[in-house]
Symmetry: C2
Subunit: 406 residues, 2 copies
């Protein structure tokens, strides 16, 4: 018998099974209303367009689309991507500044591996995107969490912490933020704070990793969605984007946009990781971008998710106890709930699943596993009917538990 | 101005740009006969089948094929893969022992990250697959190289080294081998040595990483191509496979087959790396496997590469100086050449490129950068005409340089 545990690296201790993906497994085996995932509604997939494009791409360009391709990404795809980012996000990008990644998850892994040494300080929002914590954690940084409010990361708190760190002779490697329609909370960084954040990056000499995954999924036209990368004048922002939420997550197309010097390092790293992202999906996406399919589709996706958000927020207002706090997100896919009770949402989860509802316990989104009375609720995937039913079940459960724990 | 170099991790020092991929860039800008790559001949891509399958998969299964999917891989794909491995490689595999990876490169990265601690001993063939060295190197192991001959890794030398290591109180973490039609050399491990290798793994308690990328690309029917994994009785072998050489490299479909306990660790690692390999390409490949397209295609691929190998071996015999040693590979994509001269093939390369021919200098395939007078020549991609022309040019150059250096 081989004792496999003796062969494992130290790093495996920092590879946590994502609570969400474990939950997804759970919900595969039984019928359940799941607010746990972060899945787009498959109604939003442009199936008719993509089946035609896939056939044509293989027919006309098969010899290239099925072959190895450059590590930074297929040239025609990066060209279309650069145009798309210019049209929709105001980014002026040279294709040598783009590294195509296997989903934004790989972008985060590449950034972690090329920037983080053990014990480096990495600043995150508290709460923040759980899979970013998972990617960064393997490189063993020291996380510092900055609280958020309705205007995103509290930049004044950040400044206090930076001052303190400087007085201790410590430097920050980078700050990771999801500035727009944040995952998990749905809040958005205000224009003033964006500006101040970049000033602080300059003053305290750190890099900013901007995760713009929901930048095009904002329902409220009055919200300023300018990326930090557009405001950045000194090259401190590393921009991460993805087509998982606005085209297809199963195609796994993410990208990093960074100053060429860094993009070249990311390229070298990616070469060792998987040589390159699949050529075929890049060719298909290039054609979809050329045909303007995402832009054509976006208003429909926004409207669908806006209406689902409304259903969820209304159902929460109706069914949850009054002292519960929750966000009314202006975009994205999630409502963030803080029960304001002495209830551990992780302990509550098995009971919820028993009654047919799943969510993600909020503490997974905190670098320090705080936030025990919080939860993240996804509204993009379930149907309006399921949202109403599921929130009612969850509301009743919370009320019951609240009563019995008093 | 930001000084980006100050922000880079220590690990970036071990991320080498692959000589091959840098060369591929070089050859993109000018017309050149390249023996440098490891590209399949695009004639071997089943374009007609794949365009039809891609369209049908998106049409019928779009909601699933474009959605997020499990980290270990799409279930129906793993089921078809298990059947394929059983039919063609004699492997009896449960789908929970399979982790689908983004090409075999990611398999090697996952293995490196989950197994290697700095200074762990990793044994490789000398020469060995260059991209494996690149993947492993980031985790900073101590490499030990075992020489090869026509029967693959010299297992007697391995045993001597294992004895010596044991006497020094040192243990080996794993041994990496490409047992069949090895890259770069084209040699194949003999049945006796396979058996002895596994006995040594048991006796000295190490794991074996078997890279079976060319197992189905053997032209000579008399060669024993049984995978180590099939002979392994104690669960020491981690099997790595890929469809890059027999279906399409641009689909980036690799896989690890390992005891479930290890497969679960690999899954946890992969979750942090890229969540999962693209769903769409897995659905397309599942359908291609179900329809038996690879098996139908294989005899044609083998015949094509066998004839190209013949052309290359004959051209070398005709054009290279007599004292040059080279392999007559029974499979795979490469001929390995040792000039037996005081010539550094890396220094020779710019001259070769100037005359319109590229190859990979052999020392990139050695963990210790030895083998300066060796080179790897690819015969799968260039046409027979190009092979004849290119080998003639290269032969003349070698003769000239040999003469002038005497």
């Amino acid at each position: 018998m081989v004792t496999y545990s003796e062969f494992l690296s130290e790093a495996t201790k920092f590879m946590r099974a994502s609570e969400i993906r474990e939950l997804l497994k759970l919900t595969e085996t039984r019928k359940i209303i799941s607010f746990a995932g972060g899945l787009p509604d498959p109604q939003t997939f442009p199936i008719k367009h993509l089946k035609k494009i896939a056939k044509e791409v293989i027919e006309k360009n098969g010899a290239k689309a099925l072959q190895y391709s450059p590590t930074k990404g297929v040239t025609c795809y990066r060209e279309e991507l650069a145009k798309f980012l210019s049209r929709n996000r105001g980014l002026k990008v040279d294709i040598e500044e783009i590294v195509v990644t296997t989903g934004s998850q790989q972008a985060l892994d590449i950034i972690a591996r090329t920037l983080i040494n053990p014990n480096d300080i990495v600043i995150v929002e508290a709460p923040t995107y759980l899979a970013a914590l998972n990617a960064f954690r393997i490189q063993r940084p020291n996380f510092i969490g900055i609280p958020i409010d309705d205007n995103g990361m509290k930049v004044d708190v950040l400044e206090d912490i930076l001052k303190k760190l400087r007085s201790e002779g410590k430097k920050v490697k980078f700050l990771y933020t999801v500035p727009i329609a944040q995952n998990p909370s749905g809040v958005t960084l205000s224009p003033d704070r964006k500006k101040r954040l970049l000033e602080l990056a300059e003053e305290y000499d750190f890099l900013v990793v901007e995760d713009d995954v929901y930048g095009l999924l904002v329902f409220d036209a009055s919200v300023d969605t300018t990326p930090l990368k557009v405001i950045d004048k000194t090259g401190r922002v590393i921009y991460v984007g993805s087509f998982s939420k606005i085209l297809s997550p199963g195609m796994r197309l993410g990208h990093i946009v960074a100053p060429k010097e860094l993009a070249d390092v990311f390229e070298r790293c990616k070469q060792a990781l998987d040589l390159h992202t699949p050529t075929l999906t890049q060719y298909i996406a290039a054609e979809a971008l050329r045909k303007g399919i995402i832009e054509e589709n976006l208003p429909r996706i926004r409207e669908l998710y806006r209406s689902k958000r409304d259903v969820m927020v209304e159902a929460i207002a109706e069914n949850f106890p009054e002292n519960v706090w929750y966000t009314k997100p202006i975009g994205g896919m999630f409502v963030w709930v803080k029960l304001n009770m002495n209830i551990d949402t992780k302990e509550l989860l098995p009971k919820a699943v028993e009654r047919g509802v799943a969510y993600v316990p909020g503490k997974a989104f905190y670098h320090d596993m705080s936030g025990i009375d919080t939860m993240r609720l996804n509204f993009s995937y379930p149907s309006p009917k399921e949202i109403r039913e599921g929130i009612k079940i969850l509301g009743n459960l919370i009320k019951e538990v609240a009563k019995s724990s008093q």
